[in-house]
């Protein structure tokens, strides 16, 4: 029945004509009968009319039942509102622009929220996916591979457990390694893909024995990589990729659905190899090599608490069995939280801020409307006099605000779309979750809801207040357009509210800007002007430079430096230092009682601190054997460990300078002195920006073939340094930057050099 009434709205004219004809027929038949009874023509007609009752009323009653009066009235009101808008375009423009800005800002923030939190993960069984973390004290990090293997063997609650990683490697699509580029290569087993529910588009995934040394030279590429490099050539399977000078065979293609944030990367990982970062990854020595990625697929019906308890039990066993695992426990996090976790507080604050902005816009508009409607009192009075009820007037005013809101909503969505495009381009680089920011149905629904909500918010009160008309008084000639006291109070309240909200926003924004500025101007504890940093990724063969050769390279650098010292004042000058990451394990028994968290040790050439970075060292104990050119990685050399200390470290009384620490494993007889450098913000120079606590890496020294190079340029790099200063000959040609000579072309001596604060 509703449907027929809905349809009837559009056939209004025809239906009206039919009703008219029917009623006319009735009246004529009645008049005829009256005439037959002997009445005169006129009397017959009048009696027929009297017997009938009110013709107009009947017609109205029929019309009301036929259509949908609510909708029809709305249509009429909206039409009227549109005509009003056209008549005063300035007012309309102001209202629409205000609304568009308010709704657009909210929609833009909501789309970010949508992409980061609301949109379901693009995996089958996403509800059962969790991230696995090793926890010690307040530190959370990825687990180590042997730990994950034990979890996988001993658990009852998981379908699949997978450990994975990603490294930047030199990749080339040709056999001879030409045109190598630096690509983020994922290391994952078949379990990883199966847990995520990713099936190969072509070919296959890795087999179990391809995770072992000697068999792991296979690769799986993503669909995007296949499209861009191989133009979707169906014969790509079996072709060779050269990764770090090794030949890998492509065995499969996976769809490009694995997001970059799983790998803490900005873009999706295009190439995967089997999970074998180095041959000893599954040995006991690697048990404290943590910070690998780890995900798990829960068994159906298993809750996260059960699984966490299960893994905690295993972790407890491991902690008892292996000293390196002492004190470590396990935490599970839903995979969706991995996507959104860090951004949640920021997003909430942002949502609140734009919500305030919308409120301010709404109250602005409410007072605007109120002001405007005082000028229309006579119009309202006229309608009341003609028989319109107050609800009808309210409906009319609300229809006007609804029209404004909808138009504003549409414009706001357009603005949001533009903002989202800009945001995606800029912020996608730093936040991988924002890489695919699109407007989907949720965002549009939100924009619509926002429009309706604002309409109600800023429309109801003015509608109610404006239509409080005393018809007689308003229609009198010379009636002033005065606003009732109710309106006055309301407007005062509006203005107060607006000022309050604006103040909140201004103060908040001011504080934020101040904080940012202070962060920028923070003193990192060392001289940063003219400091350039870069890194190169050496293929495996490079790593196995025997020590003397490495030393000779450093000698050559120093030689170069020495030679140029004379020209120091006239020419540009570069000094290079090299820092190698070298793993040294600290026997936990010694330090564990003092340190509640694991400790990372890096081996640094002393010149780094004295020359390149020029950090002032306190307690500088220049041990005689510490002088350059000694290398701290020589066995039985007394080296120094500089612990980067945060303020809390002071609370630990037992750690003080010249404390001896023992190391285990590779250099069991080394002893080290501790030089404590307080409040050091050295991390600004390194890539891992978050590690302000001393933390521990182990076992990475043979594998991380990344060399970080810190270059101090004494004078601004606009002037090109002499190419002879850079020992380019030491770098093998088949590196990714093969065609970039170490000449600073465009002031970029190496790949990925970033200028810092110069």
């Amino acid at each position: 029945m509703i449907l027929s009434r809905f349809v009837a709205m559009f056939r209004r004219d025809k239906l009206d004509a039919e009703t008219d004809e029917e009623l006319r027929a009735h009246l004529e038949m009645a008049a005829e009968e009256n005439r037959r009874r002997g009445m005169s023509e006129e009397d017959a007609r009048l009696k027929a009319l009297r017997d009938f009752g009110g013709v107009t009323q009947v017609r109205e009653a029929v019309r009301l039942r036929e259509g949908l009066p609510f909708v029809e009235n709305l249509r009429r009101d909206v039409g009227y509102a549109l005509r009003q808008m056209r008549r005063s375009p300035g007012f309309a423009a102001v209202v629409i622009v205000t609304l568009a800005l308010g709704i657009g800002a909210n929609t833009a923030v909501f789309s970010v929220l949508n992409a980061v939190m609301l949109r379901p993960l693009a995996f089958a069984e996403a509800g059962r996916l969790v991230q696995i973390l090793s926890v010690k004290g307040a530190e959370r990090m990825g687990p180590s591979a042997p730990d994950m293997r034990d979890f996988a063997d001993r658990n009852h609650t998981f379908d699949k457990l997978a450990v994975y990683d990603q490294w930047r490697k030199n990749v080339s699509t040709s056999r001879d390694g030409a045109n190598a580029e630096e690509i983020n290569v994922g290391l994952a087993s078949a379990d990883f893909f199966e847990a995520l529910g990713v099936r190969p588009v072509m070919g296959r995934l890795f087999t179990a024995n391809e995770g072992e040394a000697g068999h792991n030279h296979v690769a799986v590429i993503s669909e995007k990589f296949w499209a861009s490099r191989y133009q979707r050539d169906p014969r790509v399977l079996g072709r060779t990729l050269t990764i770090n000078d090794q030949q890998y065979t492509i065995v499969g293609i996976v769809p490009a659905t694995i997001p970059g944030w799983l790998h803490a990367a900005q873009t999706q990982v295009p190439i995967f190899e089997p999970f074998l970062p180095y041959p000893g990854i599954w040995s006991e020595q690697s048990r404290d090599g943590r910070n690998y990625g780890a995900i798990g697929l829960l068994k159906p019906g298993v809750t996260r608490e059960e699984a966490e308890a299960d893994l905690k039990r295993i972790a407890g066993d491991l902690a008892l069995a292996y000293p390196v695992d002492h004190g470590f426990s396990v935490a599970l996090r839903p995979l969706a939280e991995m996507r959104s976790g860090d951004l949640k507080p920021v997003l909430f604050v942002l949502s609140g801020a734009v919500g305030f902005i919308l409120l301010i816009a709404c109250s602005n508009l409410a007072s605007l409307l109120l002001a405007r409607n005082t000028a229309r009192q006579r119009e309202f009075a006229m309608r009341r006099a003609l028989g319109a009820g107050r609800p009808a007037l309210v409906r009319q005013v609300l229809a006007e605000t609804l029209t404004f809101s909808l138009v504003g909503s549409v414009c706001g969505t357009g603005l949001a779309w533009a903002a989202v495009r800009a945001l995606g381009a800029g912020a996608g680089a730093s936040l991988p979750q924002l890489a695919d920011l699109t407007l989907d149905w949720r965002v549009f629904a939100f924009a619509l809801a926002a429009g309706l909500g604002t309409c109600l918010l800023f429309g109801i009160a003015p509608a109610w207040l404006s239509t409080r008309v005393d018809a007689a008084a308003a229609l009198k000639e010379g009636g002033r357009n005065s606003s009732a006291p109710g309106q006055h109070n309301f407007r005062r309240a509006l203005v107060t509210g607006q000022i309050a909200l604006s103040l909140i926003l201004l103060v908040g924004a001011g504080l934020l800007i101040q904080t940012l500025r202070r962060l920028e101007e923070q003193d990192p504890g060392f001289r940063i002007e003219h400091l350039v940093r870069g890194h190169i990724y050496l293929p495996p063969a490079q790593r196995y430079f025997p020590l003397p050769r490495r030393r000779s390279r450093q000698q050559k650098i120093r030689h170069v430096n020495a030679r140029n010292r004379q020209q120091q004042r006239r020419r540009n000058h570069q000094r290079q230092q090299r820092r190698t990451q070298r793993a040294v394990a600290i026997l936990p028994q010694r330090l564990a009682p003092e340190l509640p968290y694991p400790v990372r040790v890096r081996m640094l050439p002393p010149q780094l601190f004295s020359n390149a970075i020029q950090i002032p060292l306190r307690h500088r104990k220049r041990h005689p054997r510490l002088q350059p050119p000694h290398h701290v990685d020589e066995p039985r050399t007394l080296g120094a460990i500089i612990l980067r200390v945060r303020l809390e470290f002071r609370r630990m009384p037992k750690l003080h300078p010249a404390r001896r620490v023992e190391t285990a494993r590779h250099h069991p007889n080394n002893r080290y002195c501790i030089l404590i450098q307080r409040d050091l913000l050295v991390d600004h120079a390194w890539i891992a920006a978050k590690q302000l606590l001393p933390s521990r890496i182990t076992q990475h020294h043979r594998l991380r073939h990344m060399r970080l190079i810190i270059v101090r340029i004494v004078s601004p790099p606009q002037q090109r340094p002499h190419p002879k200063h850079i020992p380019k000959a030491r770098i093998r040609p088949r590196l990714a930057h093969r065609h970039r000579r170490l000449r600073p072309r465009n002031h970029r001596p190496l790949i990925e050099i970033e200028k810092r604060h110069a």
Binding site: E18, H26, M29, R50, G389
Partner: protein, 127 residues
């Protein structure tokens, strides 16, 4: 432009004979009239109702039309354009199958109400 008027028959001629009637009873009367007379136009139905009620119900004939529309929307009667006895074009209404069933249902409920009222009045009257 006003709001929806309640569907209660109003007698604009105040003071004239005639009792207000609820819409449900008018519907039943219309249905019964159509059952007895067969297809009929609006005027015919209105006159018939006046006759049967022996002039005690002076309804405004126009009020029948909203009722007819209601019945039509519920699917109890259907409407067709035809020619009346004096050659006029008029809309004729006739019962549908559902309408017929509705008559039975309504008749039953009316008889139940009447019986209950009768019992009530009987007991109230007796001492």
């Amino acid at each position: 432009m006003g709001g929806d008027r309640p569907d209660v028959l109003r007698d604009p001629t105040a003071g004239a004979a005639g009792t207000p009637m609820l819409q449900g009873t008018l519907d039943l009367m219309v249905l019964k009239t159509l059952e007895t007379m067969g297809p009929q136009h609006g005027y015919g139905i209105a006159r018939r109702i006046e006759q049967i009620s022996e002039q005690t119900l002076r309804l405004n004939q126009g009020t029948i039309y909203p009722a007819l529309l209601r019945l039509r929307q519920r699917g109890w009667i259907r409407a067709e354009w035809g020619t009346s006895e004096n050659g006029r074009r008029a809309r004729f209404y006739s019962l549908t199958k559902t309408g017929k069933g509705q008559i039975e249902k309504e008749t039953e409920s009316w008889e139940r109400v009447a019986a209950t009222m009768a019992r009530f009045l009987a007991t109230a009257g007796s001492r």
